[in-house]
């Protein structure tokens, strides 16, 4: 039976499941033997690009593998676009792409044959699979090397080939497990750019697992930090950035006390950290030029002014210190 995907897409549009969160964790727990790896994970992940962070052994890869149906949950479950991972695993895998962390290839094959085989296994007809294999390899930048044997590829090229096989069948959700592992800076930049492009196309959601904070910061809108198999933090990076946009650090010389009181008079909150440093939260309608005006009137020099924002590193370190949070 040939399934017309276009028709299934139309029915999918009218399906309320389409408005479901990308990933819905319902008390998901996984144990290996007697050792708990994931402990009662709960929450709804809705971002276009979700960063999965955590120290080594936190359970990032196990979470991805469980969502793919490689490991059965010991209790609880999860839903991907409204479909249960325990009962609809095969259906889920038809709209999911996966780029594994470790080197995973079929040897003695050219890249185009490898990617074509993967597309055919995803259900694409042979001719379409071949066409899309070429397109995917061009898209990731391996167009010129697509007839070369995979065994001859460099590490960076292998990573790109893995990305090509993950996107060749045009999935709705792509799991990327440490996609920049072992890449040199230009190759890393290329990988990050590709992930950004896929995210911005709006055609697929991305779950990016990494222990490199910079990668996640550059690609993701939401982050989920795991610690010892539990959710330590889940936050929206964009909102965090917006919230911190009006948080200023000032270094001043002169009558800081009078200056601070004048700022308070404008309705801004402040905190003096040292004799010369001041933290200020700007209120609605107050601009930086107003601060300079007040400073001038109090004969205070503003030597340095910077926006203070919690970097992802701060969030991560806080999560590691504080322990367990939740959604």
């Amino acid at each position: 039976m040939v399934i017309p995907a276009a028709v299934s897409d139309q029915t999918a549009l009218s399906n309320p499941a389409n408005f479901a969160p990308v990933i819905d964790l319902n008390g998901l727990s996984v144990t290996f033997g007697k050792r708990p790896i994931l402990k009662n994970l709960r929450g709804e992940l809705r971002g276009r690009a979700i960063g999965l962070l955590g120290p080594n052994g936190a359970g990032k890869t196990t979470l991805i593998h469980t969502l793919l149906g490689f490991h059965p949950p010991s209790s609880g479950t999860a839903h991907i676009f409204g479909r249960d991972i325990t009962t609809d695993a095969k259906q889920i895998r038809s709209f999911v792409g996966y780029m594994p962390e470790r080197d995973s290839f079929i040897t003695k094959m050219s890249a185009v044959r490898f990617v074509r085989l993967m597309a055919e296994l995803s259900g694409l007809p042979a001719a379409t699979a071949l066409e899309r294999a070429h397109e995917a390899l061009f898209y990731v930048g391996l167009g010129e090397a697509r007839y070369r044997n995979l065994d001859t590829y460099s590490l960076g090229m292998k990573q790109l080939a893995k990305l090509a096989q993950a996107i060749v069948h045009g999935p709705k959700l792509i799991f990327l497990d440490e996609p920049t592992n072992g890449l040199d800076p230009p190759a890393r930049q290329r990988m990050i750019r590709l992930i950004g492009e896929i995210r911005d196309s709006g055609q697929a959601n991305i779950l990016l697992s990494s222990h490199l904070l910079r990668d996640v910061e550059e690609c993701c809108e939401e982050i989920l930090i795991l610690k010892d198999g539990e959710i330590a933090v889940y936050c929206n990076l964009e909102e965090e950035r917006k919230a911190n946009r009006k948080f200023l650090l000032l270094e001043t010389r002169g009558d800081q006390k009078g200056f601070a009181e004048a700022i308070a008079g404008l309705g801004c909150e402040y905190a003096r950290t040292t004799d010369h440093r001041l933290k200020v939260v700007l209120q609605e309608g107050i601009e930086v030029r107003d601060l300079y005006r007040v400073a001038a009137s109090h004969e205070v020099q503003i030597r340095r002014l910077s926006y203070k924002r919690d970097s992802l590193e701060d969030i991560f370190l806080k999560a590691m210190e504080n322990g367990h949070g939740g959604l």
Binding site: M1, V2, I3, P4, A5, A6, D9, F32, G33, H65, L68, F70, H71, K90, Q91, R93, S94, V96, G97, Y98, P100, R102, D103, S104, F105, I106, T107, K108, R113, L117, M118, E120, L121, S122, G123, L124, P125, T128, R132, H134, E135, A136, F138, Y139, G143, Q165, I167, H169, G170, P171, K172, E197, I198, S201, Q203, A204
Partner: protein, 304 residues
């Protein structure tokens, strides 16, 4: 994701039927298999006995050709169950060597290169993966065993007449069942060994060992204890018995005359294990192979 557009685009076209997807594996595997000149040459040689068999059947029914070659029809083998059994066993032996060349790297290569997650992260189950890998062997082996044998059986029926065909239908079923059981056993064994041993040469050696070592050991047991129960650990002996049972040539009791100092002679009757024991033993071997495959064919192995 068109080449000229360089943008990511989801696929919204038609999909192939799910049941047919396991056949993608043999389709791609045959490209590699027939790249080897050694294998292609050997595989071609496997058809020579079939050619001889066809010639023998043809000669049996062509008096003119026999007269021309000055052969008496009585000197030729009779075309009966034993005739087909001989060629089925011969092709079965050749099938083993085909498995030795093709089977070991099939799963081992994927395990060595961590390729299983790539298969299993798609709408493709472990059972379909095993079926796909098995079908690489099953299709190849069918081409040199039961398919041509059944065609030759039909050829003989055509030359001999409808009456012979109806009377000999059981030979056709024996050809089919005997060959299928053997190639299924070989395919399962080679996949299980391939899943256990990641190196091709070692896997080939192990496969050869599984067939030879128990046979030798079984023969030693048979001779030491004047029995035939040693055969139950020998795959080739088990299969020989099953094949003989299917072709109606299975003889359970065999006698042996032992001579003492040239004066006293004693007859010892040695019984083969019952036929059902051979079937059960083969079933157990297949079950063990399936158990091993189910244990080893996983996206990721959890190390305890």
């Amino acid at each position: 994701m068109a080449v000229y557009e360089h943008t990511y685009k989801r696929y919204a076209g038609q999909l192939t039927p799910e049941w047919s997807r396991f056949l993608i594996i043999p389709h791609h595997a045959y490209r590699d298999v027939f790249k080897s000149k050694l294998f292609t040459a050997f595989f071609s040689l496997c058809f020579i006995p079939l050619l001889v068999e066809a010639i023998l059947i043809y000669l049996h029914h062509n008096v003119e050709a026999l007269a021309l070659m000055r052969i008496n029809v009585r000197e030729l083998l009779p075309i009966d169950a034993s005739f087909f059994q001989f060629f089925v066993n011969l092709q079965g032996s050749l099938a083993f060597f085909v498995v030795l060349l093709v089977g070991p790297p099939l799963v081992a290569r994927d395990l060595r290169n961590n390729a299983l997650p790539l298969y299993l992260c798609r709408p493709f189950s472990r059972a379909e993966y095993v079926a796909g890998k098995m079908s690489v062997l099953l299709i190849l082996l069918s081409v040199i065993t039961w398919v041509p044998q059944l065609l030759l059986f039909l050829f003989q029926s055509y030359l001999e007449g409808a009456r012979w065909f109806i009377d000999s239908l059981w030979i056709g079923s024996a050809i089919f069942i005997g060959s299928v059981v053997w190639i299924l056993l070989l395919a399962l064994l080679s996949q299980a060994v391939s899943a256990l041993v990641k190196w091709r040469v070692v896997a080939s050696g192990a496969l050869l060992g599984i067939l030879l070592i128990p046979s030798i050991f079984g023969e030693v047991v048979n001779n030491l204890f004047l029995t035939r129960w040693g055969n139950i650990i020998s795959l080739s002996a088990l299969m020989r018995n099953v094949s003989a049972g299917l072709f109606g040539t299975f003889v359970r009791a065999t006698s042996r005359i032992t001579d003492f100092d040239g004066r006293v002679a004693r007859e010892i009757v040695i019984n083969e294990p019952p036929l059902w024991v051979s079937w059960v033993a083969l079933f157990v071997v297949c079950a063990i192979c399936l158990g091993l495959l189910s244990r080893k064919v996983r996206a990721y192995e959890v190390v305890k």
